[in-house]
Amino acid sequence: MSDWLSSPFFGISLSIAAYAIGVLIQNKLNTPFANPLLIAIVLVIAFLSIFSIPYEDYNAGGQIITMLLIPATVVLSISVYNRLDILKKNWLPVIVGCLAGSVTSIISVLLLCRMFGLDDTMTISLLPKSVTTPIAVGLSEQYGGIASVTVTSVIITGIFGTVFAPQLIRLFRVKNAVASGVAIGTCSHVGGTTRAIEIGETQGAMSSLSIGIAGLLSTFIMVFIKFL
């Protein structure tokens, strides 16, 4: 039995099945709180725990899926390239916004982690939480964080952005569509962007553009902070 379950096909099939159930539940409930990724993670953990299947058996297939994150990061550049026109028109505000936002995000996480007395590994894992997951995981691993903590924090951030993007716009009285789009993309990556697309075309385009740019800038900021 354990020989059979340590086949990579087990982990892959279980992951896809769990994710499919997640998508199904989201379509039924139609609320951003029912995040398919979150549901899939909980389901897989429950399945492995109930049948006492070792994590290593699952991860034989799991690591093949995780490996695909690098090519998924690489093709992010295509979505920036496809929006090159609107980037050219607004390049200065977009870049200044992404830079200010990324610096603020990283520094505020750093300060709050210190305030709560979280250890260094935990802090490093949380630092990239506003960045899109593939870049966040790459950063976390490079600096000695825990990838799964990073994924969890990115999901929490994404769900918060999806649910509260319109409230944030109202709370801070952001009238400019470029400003709200860039702000949503920089603070809550793909999660917020799905909502920004519903708010308006400019907001959606700006938000998805900011995901890639903020991710790239965050990489440089992390390097910079390391040398401080």
């Binding site: 690489v74 944030l168 920089t186």
Partner: protein, 125 residues
């Protein structure tokens, strides 16, 4: 052969990215290096987005799914982070609000600054 060719291009970019990442003296995720490489290939018209369409669509559509195993890894360390979990949720939410405000203010400020420059340029000083 079409999709195989696309996979070859993307895998090649990833592989070169990992090589560069190993040489660089600073920690820089290989995926981000690959992202910059592919962007340069696009910018210099060595490659068109449509050349990679099927593979890109697959990777983008299944992006969220690809994080399932990484997230499941939490079960291995949950006992260690149990006490940090609530602060973690709190930190994620608070910093997201702060980041939103800072970004929006920076974009608005820059747009206003550009408008001010334009007005000033029109009026001869």
């Amino acid at each position: 052969m079409k999709v195989l060719w696309q996979i070859a291009v993307i895998t090649g970019v990833c592989f070169v990215g990992e090589g560069i990442s190993l040489i660089l003296p600073i920690p820089f995720p290989s995926g981000v290096i690959g992202m910059i490489l592919l962007f340069l290939l696009l910018l210099f018209k060595r490659i068109q987005p449509r050349d990679l369409k099927e593979s890109t669509d697959f990777l983008t559509d299944s992006m969220k799914f690809l994080f399932v195993p990484a997230g499941v890894g939490v079960m291995q360390i949950f006992d260690d982070i149990r006490n940090s979990f609530l602060p973690m949720v709190f930190i994620c939410i608070v910093t997201t609000v702060i980041t939103f405000a800072a970004t929006a203010a920076a974009v608005n400020g820059t747009i206003k600054f550009q408008q001010w420059l334009r007005v000033r340029r029109r009026k001869p000083v």
